[in-house]
């Protein structure tokens, strides 16, 4: 009797695995579908896209590498935008991680006067959209003569509320004895952070590198306000100028869009190993 019950339970869980696998395969197909459409469209003439929209049609006769020839050999600013985006994303990620980890450690490792109120401010800012302050901030930036300057895009967000929050969560799990040991060895407070804490934050850095990298690579509205000259355009700003009322350049848009996913995807692949681990350790706990 008991044996039989065991067996049916086993079958039941096997069945469950099968059903969830089917569900996840379907979900994966649905999620990949738009990217697949973009991929096959990149081999079709740009005019087709304007006329017919995106669809599943695979007409080999109408397909060519023309859009990619245009992307690599044509007269346009795509590669300027591309490297601007790479530069800006790298600077943003590195500075945000450095500054936010520094601040996050301050919140996690010490008890000090005013800590609670400051931490409530972190939580408040976490839930305020940038758009609320966007226009006054824009005015402020032009007073500070930072218009059309990447500094205006990076500087206000280096001490980034949600990244600080995440690092704090992550560091709360680190035993205080580690810092005590550092002090006994004669390290300064900053030395403890640099030499003992930073090395064990690797998973947290990976998770935040992906999330901040994603945001920086795809950032649009704030750079749209700040950046003036087209040689400083980022990829998202530039791609969007390809669709305008005066002429749609779908050939470059489609191959360029496809190509724009690659760098951020590579970043994801590089850090993916630690990503879930970092997210788990820094996850919000009760």
């Amino acid at each position: 009797m008991g044996h039989k019950g065991m067996k049916s339970k086993n079958q039941k869980s096997k069945m469950e695995i099968w059903l969830s696998t089917i569900l996840f395969v379907i979900l994966a197909i649905l999620i990949l579908l738009p990217i697949w459409l973009l991929f096959i469209a990149s081999f079709k003439p740009g005019g087709d896209l304007l006329q017919y929209g995106l669809n599943l049609e695979l007409n080999i006769d109408r397909m060519s590498l023309d859009n990619f020839v245009l992307l690599f050999k044509g007269q346009h600013e795509y590669w300027t935008w591309f490297f601007n985006s790479i530069f800006l994303t790298a600077v943003t990620v590195i500075s945000t991680l450095a500054v936010s980890a520094f601040v996050g450690y301050g919140f996690a490792a010490y008890d000090f006067k005013g800590k609670n109120i400051l931490f409530i401010i972190v939580l408040l800012i976490l839930s305020i959209p940038l758009e609320v302050v966007m226009l006054p901030l824009y005015k402020q930036m032009s007073v500070m003569k930072l218009m059309d300057n990447y500094i205006a895009i990076v500087l206000p967000f280096m001490a980034h509320a949600s990244t600080i929050f995440f690092f704090r969560q992550y560091l709360l799990g680190i035993p205080k004895s580690l810092m005590e040991a550092g002090r006994i060895d004669g390290a300064t407070e900053y030395g403890i952070f640099l030499k003992l804490i930073v090395p064990i934050m690797k998973p947290a850095f990976s998770a935040m590198a992906i999330l901040n990298g994603m945001n920086a690579w795809n950032n649009y509205l704030w750079p749209l306000l700040v950046v003036r000259s087209s040689d400083k355009y980022t990829l998202t700003l530039g791609l969007n100028t390809l669709i305008n009322p005066y002429g749609d350049n779908y050939s470059l848009l489609i191959s360029g869009s496809l190509f724009s996913i690659i760098p951020i995807f590579l970043l994801f692949i590089c850090f993916q190993k630690y990503f879930i681990e970092g997210m788990t350790a820094g996850a919000v706990k009760g």
Partner: protein, 294 residues
């Protein structure tokens, strides 16, 4: 001086100093400025008292924008919390093969920018009978629709775009939360004969609450401040009959396109108030405040 800098008393303040400066210069100053500007006619450079706010209260287009934003936010909350939670629960099964592969695939859309993703969706919802969604409904014998000209079909397109981009990210948040729950709890429950559903209701759901509150908070924020998705679907900030206009879209239209800075700042302050109200309500309902008091 140097000794003070290295002292254990001062060090915490050195650590949080960059944050304090950021808050003062890039948050408190602009919010204060925004409040001041919202009482002015900036072009004519004079104070107008509550004129901008009273104008807003009778501005039908503004109410439409608020309604659109709230509708969108509610839709994303309904779709982007329960389903990712369910998927994460199913993915968090050691016997399931390829879980890592699925996770990476689901994350892919978040890596494409809204500019790229929105353009893809605009073209999938094209008016031509050859566009993907017209082909799909054509398969069921329906004639082509102008998707992005009707309010309901636009809502559908916006929600689908949101689901496509964020399902994978939210799955990862919930997975991270689930992996912090000890497996002993499930084993004990399963020995006691609890079904999978009971285990989910009695163990996963309550222990996932901090994650859920976090995801809820960022979803409210993202939903209410949506702008770019709609801009990409409509190739600009103008949509037929303003069906795609959001609060931020209206702020942008007034402040940047029409240069009515004071009026736009009033829109921003209202947005701030709405976000704060919804969040306080949310934290009250989920009982997060009570825990802080303890």
């Amino acid at each position: 001086m140097k000794k003070l800098f290295y002292s254990q008393k001062l060090a915490p303040y050195v650590f949080i100093f960059p944050f304090v400066i950021t808050v003062l210069v890039f948050w408190i100053a602009p919010i204060g400025n925004g409040v001041l500007l919202s009482f002015q006619d900036v072009l004519k450079d004079r104070w107008v008292g509550f004129d901008n706010y009273s104008r807003l209260l009778t501005d039908k287009i503004f109410f439409k924008a608020v309604w659109n934003s709230i509708k969108y936010m509610v839709g994303t909350l309904i779709l982007l919390i329960p389903f990712p939670m369910l998927f994460a629960t199913l993915l968090n099964n050691k016997m399931l093969k390829g879980a890592g592969f699925f996770k990476s695939i689901y994350f892919l859309p978040a890596l494409t920018s809204v500019v790229v993703g929105g353009t893809i969706f605009r073209l999938m919802f094209g008016e031509s009978s050859f566009s993907l969604f017209n082909q799909v409904i054509g398969f069921f014998g329906k004639s082509p629709i102008k998707w992005l000209k009707g309010a309901n079909t636009t809502y559908f397109a916006l929600l689908l775009l949101a689901c496509w981009r964020w399902t994978g990210v939210n799955i990862l948040y919930f997975l991270a939360g689930l992996q912090n729950i000890s497996t002993d709890l499930y084993e004990a429950a399963s020995i006691d004969g609890a079904s999978k559903w009971q285990q989910f209701r009695k163990i996963s759901l309550p222990l996932l609450k901090p994650t859920t509150v976090y995801v809820l908070t960022i979803s409210i924020y993202a939903g209410l401040s949506m702008f770019l998705e709609s801009t990409m679907l409509f190739k600009g900030n103008n949509s037929p009959n303003n069906i795609g206009l959001t609060i931020v879209g209206y702020l942008y239209r007034q402040g940047v396109e029409k240069r009515a800075m004071g009026y736009a700042c009033a829109v921003g302050i209202i947005l701030l108030i709405i976000v704060m109200m919804v969040n306080v309500l949310q934290l009250k309902l989920t009982g997060t405040f009570k825990k802080e008091e303890k």
